[in-house]
C-alpha cells in the first residue's frame, strides 16, 4: 500500500522535474490519442450514419421480404396467409406493403405520386423519423378519415402547408377522398420524387385508386440468427398454399455480411499506426530520461529502494503521464468531432444523429495507458539494471 502511494508520489515529483521534456512527449501522445479517438469516433459515426441510410432503404438486419406472385389477385387469402405466418413465428415487427401510384390534386393540377401502403410497424423497421408532425400510430388504423405521411418533396408540392393546421390532400380515384397529412419525412436524397405513405387498412376501406391490382408483400423484421431458418420455413408454408412462385429473401444491407466491416478495419489500422508513432516518440524521450537519471536511481537504491520499486516507479511515471495525456486527447477529440461544422458532414443522411461513441473514448484512454506501460517498460528494465555502485561513483 505505502509502496504504491510512494511510487505515485515519486512519479509526480519526477514529472515535475522534467516538465519541459515530459510536456513535449505528452503533447505527442495527446495528439495521437486525439487522432486515434477522432478517427475511430468519426468512423463509427459515419458508418452508423451509413447503416441508418441502408436501413431506410432495405430494413434492419434481418428483414425478410415475402411475396407470392402465384397467388393471383386473391388479396384476402394472401393477407390472411401473411397474418398466419406472423402469428406462427411470433414475429414482433412486420408490415404489409403495397407499392402503388396515387392520383393527387395539387395546386398545379393532377399528378401521380408514389404511394406506399403499409402498417405502423414499418416506421420502426425502417427508422422512419419524421422531421415534422408524427409517424402512424395503431389508433390511426381505426380512424375513418385517412391520414398520410409525406416526404418533403410532396410537402413542397402541396405548397408547404403548416402541419398543425391538419392540411388535407385530395386523393383521386373512383371516389375522391380527402386525406390529412400528419407527418413529414426528410427526402432520401435531394431531388427525390414526391412520395406518400398511407395505412393499408385505411386505403382498403376507401378502395383507393390503383390498389386493387397487385397483392401486397410482407416485410418481417426477425433476429439475424433465425433469418435462414425462417426463410426456409415461410417459403415452405406459402408454397403449400399458393404454389411454386413464392419468394422469401433477406433484403437488408447486412444480408451479404456487414459491408462496413472493411471500413472499420481500415480505420482501426490507421489509428493503430498513429498510436505506434506516439509510442515511439515517448519511448525515445523516456530512454533519454533514464540515462540522465542513472545517478539518481543509484542514490534512491542506496536509501532502500528495491529494484521492484525502481521498476514500478519508472513505469508509473510513464503511465501517470500518458493517462493524463490520454484524457486530454479524448477531450480534444470530443471537441473536434462534436463541433457544429464537423457534425453535419458525418451525419449526412442519418436521421438519428449518432452520439460520440463511448467505445472510442474508452479506446483512447485505454490505449494511452497501454502506450505508457509499453514506453515505460524498456526504460524500467534499463533502470533496474543500473549498478548502484557505478551509479554513485563520481
Amino acid at each position: 500500500m505505502t509502496a504504491l502511494i510512494g511510487a505515485v508520489i515519486e512519479a509526480f515529483s519526477e514529472l515535475r522535474i522534467h516538465k519541459t521534456r515530459v510536456l513535449l512527449a505528452l503533447l505527442g501522445v495527446m495528439l495521437s490519442v486525439a487522432a486515434l479517438t477522432s478517427v475511430v469516433a468519426l468512423g463509427n459515426m459515419a458508418s452508423a450514419g451509413m447503416v441508418q441510410t441502408s436501413e431506410r432503404m432495405g430494413g434492419r438486419a434481418a428483414t425478410l421480404g415475402v411475396s407470392t406472385p402465384s397467388a393471383g389477385s386473391d388479396q384476402a387469402a394472401v393477407v390472411a396467409a401473411y397474418a398466419e405466418v406472423v402469428d406462427r413465428y411470433s414475429i414482433e415487427y412486420s408490415s404489409l406493403r403495397v407499392d402503388t401510384f396515387l392520383g393527387i390534386r395539387t395546386p398545379a393540377g393532377r399528378i401521380d405520386a408514389m404511394g406506399l401502403l403499409i402498417e405502423p410497424d414499418y416506421g420502426t423497421m425502417r427508422r422512419m423519423n419524421v422531421v415534422d408532425g408524427r409517424w402512424f400510430t395503431d389508433g390511426d388504423t381505426e380512424r375513418l378519415a385517412p391520414v398520410m405521411i409525406v416526404n418533403e418533396a410532396f410537402h413542397t408540392l402541396m405548397g408547404s402547408p403548416d402541419i398543425t393546421t391538419d392540411p388535407g390532400v385530395e386523393l383521386l380515384g373512383e371516389r375522391d377522398v380527402k386525406a390529412v397529412i400528419v407527418g413529414i419525412l426528410a427526402d432520401d436524397y435531394s431531388g427525390a420524387q414526391p412520395q406518400a405513405y398511407l395505412l393499408k387498412d385505411q386505403t382498403d376501406r376507401w378502395e383507393l385508386a390503383g390498389v386493387q391490382g397487385a397483392p401486397p408483400t410482407l416485410e418481417a423484421w426477425v433476429p439475424a440468427g433465425l433469418a435462414d431458418e425462417l426463410t426456409a420455413r415461410i417459403t415452405a408454408d406459402l408454397k403449400a398454399q399458393f404454389g411454386p412462385d413464392v419468394s422469401v429473401y433477406r433484403q437488408d444491407y447486412a444480408a451479404q455480411g456487414d459491408p462496413y466491416g472493411g471500413l472499420t478495419l481500415v480505420i482501426g489500422g490507421v489509428a493503430g499506426l498513429v498510436l505506434l508513432l506516439g509510442a515511439v516518440g515517448l519511448l525515445n524521450i523516456s530512454m533519454v530520461t533514464v540515462k540522465y537519471r542513472v545517478r539518481e536511481i543509484g542514490i534512491r537504491r542506496s536509501f532502500g529502494a528495491t529494484s521492484g520499486r525502481i521498476f514500478f516507479g519508472v513505469m508509473m511515471e510513464s503511465v501517470v503521464a500518458t493517462s493524463v495525456a490520454g484524457v486530454a486527447g479524448v477531450m480534444l477529440a470530443v471537441a473536434v468531432v462534436s463541433h457544429p461544422r464537423v457534425q453535419p458532414m458525418l451525419a449526412a443522411g442519418a436521421t438519428d444523429l449518432p452520439p460520440f461513441p463511448i467505445g472510442a473514448a474508452l479506446l483512447g484512454v485505454g490505449s494511452a495507458i497501454a502506450v505508457g506501460a509499453l514506453a515505460g517498460l524498456i526504460p524500467a528494465l534499463v533502470a533496474v539494471r543500473v549498478k548502484v555502485i557505478d551509479a554513485i561513483r563520481y
Binding site: 505505502t2 502511494i5 510512494g6 508520489i9 515519486e10 515529483s13 515535475r16 522535474i17 545517478r295 539518481e296 542514490i299 534512491r300 537504491r301 542506496s302 536509501f303 532502500g304 529502494a305 528495491t306 529494484s307 521492484g308 520499486r309 548502484v388 555502485i389 554513485i392 561513483r393 563520481y394
Partner: protein, 244 residues
C-alpha cells in the same frame, strides 16, 4: 589467549552490528586478470561505535564501504549484518535492510537535483512503511531543524552552499534513524573550516540517535574524531594508533 565468548570484553558488550570474516573482494578487469581490491578483512562494528578508515587513493576504501552498506557482496569470506549472513538475503531483503538500518553520506552530497531540501530528506521515508511513511513530512522537517536548516527547507540544492548541502545529506542519512552511518569522504568537497563544522554535527547527531558511524577520509583531522582508527593499505585493513 582468546577471551571466553560468554564474557564480552569491556566496551563490546553487544553482539556486533556488522561482522566481516576473511572478506575478500576481487574484480576481474580485462580478460583473465584479477584485481584483489580487498584481502582478508576482519572487522566488527558494534552499535554506537565510531571508527575511521584512512588509506591512499585506490586502496579499496569505497569498495569496503559498499560492502558494509550491502550494496555489494564479498567474493570470499562472510559478511553478516545483525548476525544474518548477507549472502543468504535476496536483493530486495538487502534493499529493505539497507533502507531501514543504514544511512549514506557521500563526498559529492548526491542530493537529488530539482527537489527541495525537504523533499530530499523525505526520499528515504518514501521507502519506509507505517508511521515513518505517513509522517514523512513532519519527520523530515524535524531532522532539517536539527541540522540547522529549518528556515531553508524549501530551497533547491543548487541554491545551497556545499556545507549546507552536506547538512541536508546528513539529515537525509539520519531521518530513518539508522543503526549504521557510512560516510565516504564527507568533507572531501568542503573547506577545512566547513568540514570541521559538518563533522561536529555528524558526530553529534550520530551520538544522539545511538548510530554507529564509519567515516572514510583522507583528512587526519577528520580521522581523529573517531574512537577507533583503521588504515587500509592495498586492500589490507589494519588497526592504527591514533594519528597526530
Amino acid at each position: 589467549m582468546t577471551a571466553p565468548e560468554t564474557v564480552p570484553a569491556a566496551g563490546t558488550d553487544w553482539p556486533p552490528l556488522v561482522s566481516l570474516r576473511q572478506v575478500t573482494r576481487t574484480v576481474r578487469i580485462v580478460d583473465l586478470e584479477e584485481l584483489h581490491v580487498l584481502r582478508g578483512i576482519d572487522l566488527d562494528i558494534h552499535p554506537t561505535d565510531s571508527l575511521s578508515i584512512v588509506g591512499r587513493s585506490g586502496s579499496g576504501k569505497s569498495t569496503l564501504l559498499n560492502l558494509l552498506g550491502l550494496l555489494d557482496l564479498p567474493t570470499e569470506g562472510t559478511l553478516s549484518f545483525r548476525g544474518m549472513d548477507v549472502r543468504a538475503l535476496g536483493g530486495d531483503a538487502r534493499a529493505r535492510l539497507r533502507g531501514g538500518a543504514i544511512g549514506f553520506i557521500f563526498q559529492q552530497f548526491n542530493l537529488l537535483p530539482g527537489r527541495t531540501a525537504l523533499e530530499n530528506v523525505m526520499t528515504p521515508l518514501l521507502y519506509a512503511e507505517g508511521r515513518q511513511f505517513w509522517k514523512r513530512e513532519k519527520l523530515a522537517s524535524a531532522m532539517l531543524d536539527r541540522v540547522g536548516l529549518g528556515d531553508r527547507m524549501r530551497e533547491f540544492p543548487s541554491n545551497l552552499s556545499g556545507g549546507e548541502q552536506q547538512r541536508v545529506a546528513i539529515a537525509r542519512a539520519l531521518v530513518r534513524t539508522p543503526e549504521l552511518i557510512l560516510a565516504d569522504e564527507p568533507t572531501g568537497a568542503l573547506d577545512i573550516e566547513t568540514g570541521a563544522i559538518v563533522m561536529e554535527l555528524l558526530d553529534e547527531v550520530a551520538a544522539e540517535t545511538g548510530a554507529a558511524l564509519v567515516t572514510i577520509t583522507h583528512d587526519a583531522n577528520v580521522a581523529v574524531r573517531a574512537r577507533t582508527h583503521y588504515r587500509l593499505d592495498a586492500g589490507v585493513l589494519r588497526p592504527e594508533a591514533a594519528a597526530a
